[in-house]
Amino acid sequence: MSNGVVIFAHNNGDIDYASLSLIAAKLAKTHLNVPVSVITDKETFSSVDQKEFQNVFDKIIFTPPSTTNNTRNLYDGVESKKVKFLNDLRPSVWDLTPYDRTLLIDCDYLIMSNTLSNYWDNENELLISGKYNDITGDERVGYHDRYVSDTGVKLYWATTVMFTKNERTKLFFDLVEHIRNNYNDYGDLFRFSTKQYRNDISFSIAKHILDGYISADVDLPPVLSTIDKDMLHSVDNGKLTFLLTPQSNQNYVFASVTDLDVHVMNKKSILRNAKELV
């Protein structure tokens, strides 16, 4: 059985997702020792050092460009900008992955340990991270980081998803796609805000439905995260140091992590530290 990592990379005109995917791929290969493939579009591919792409990625898989109008406000420290959020192609991973067992990660998820290697042989055919761990502790974890809505189902984090390619996981990704295509209807049923399409929500609801409308507790490890208002300040020999956004009436504080996988939502700060990271 083949194991491998898959990353989506579609540049949106503001963020260089191609370069982010290269960083994430190099780290994943180093720490998990498995091949990594990228799903991208021709336009994004035309903007990269194609030789490096071909060297790093096991397979480069092309899809038509995203057609979504989804947007979001993305911060880089205190500065923010409304940017395109091209996240609608995720359900196609089941069809496109070249692996029997796939770890799907966001391209801002920096794998700095071999923790996820423990899940390749896990008996569960679909595993998603079930918890958001903020780098500062519980203080910044909001209600809607734990549930899709005030009364709704548990929120899973599609930042890390591991699945075995079979008919049952096909059903899961088909359902994710169905929820994406009928997002407002599911918003009515599951009481979540539909202002912005989120894979986390579609994945959570699909999992909840296929688990039999109950909460099943077998998950990937929590996603340790830094928000986009935080900044990856420096990288030194595997130690990541962040400048954490000030809480009420406080100054910025530094925090460092070593040997832990981190979801760094401030994408531009990853790019600023590209050389040191890889």
């Binding site: 005030d150 548990k154 409308y213 109950i214 909460s215």
Partner: protein, 280 residues
Amino acid sequence: MNFGYLIVVAEHNEIEYAKLAYALALSIKNTQKQGYDKVALVIDNKDLLEDIESKWVFDHIIEWDQETFWDGRSWMDELTPFEHTVCLDVDMLFTRDYSHWIDYFIDNCELYVANKAYTYRGDIVTNDYYRKCFTANGLPNLYSFFTFFAKNSELATEFFKLGRSIIKNPKEYSNLFLSKYKPKVLGTDEAFSLAAKILDITDDIAYPMEFPRVVHMKGAVQNFPSPSPNVTDKVGFYLNTNGEIKIGNYQQTDIVHYTEKELLKDSDIRLLEEIAWKIN
């Protein structure tokens, strides 16, 4: 094996407890294996059962009017017709077969009192909004809504005897043992918890187990960001023709303690009846 569920109700001006007992008994008949589905009803006035169509769901109907309201439950050890009993709160519904757990209780316990509850989303209730008295006074967190006991157990007899004494003398016991936060009403939960503490038997009668799993539908313990007295102010309660219950987006597979006494409509009871009639 001589096992059964015991339900104790009394006449009330506003709430039709007999009807709630009927719904619970129907749900037991609809979900439990034969031999594990016996129900005894203790009621202060048998006339209250007049409108009930299928009285056969009560294997025993015991008329008893020595206590009013919920105080009757503290006499469960003397009232039960069974060798092994689970006494339940009346505002509950069963959703699946739990007979394997009854086997466990019969083989291993003289007395076992529920010591946790769950939200409709399957989280363990940790909020003590309704249980300040327990927290402040260091009482064990017992719930009388599911109490298993063996009839000839000395431990159970001593426990229930003290429980009755506490309920009969709330001021004295509150002054002595609950001075840090006196409950407005010293109910069965407080009495059982205090009895367990005084007798120092909590570890024997309320050790951690995966059962009973009871979904407590009181609004303030559901971990809503803005609490509401009633869960159904926030989410729907759905009973389908198979007797399955969904609350909001969650299928319920545990015992549902719905607490809102007006929640069940006649049409819901009709649904439960129709299932029972098909099975029996």
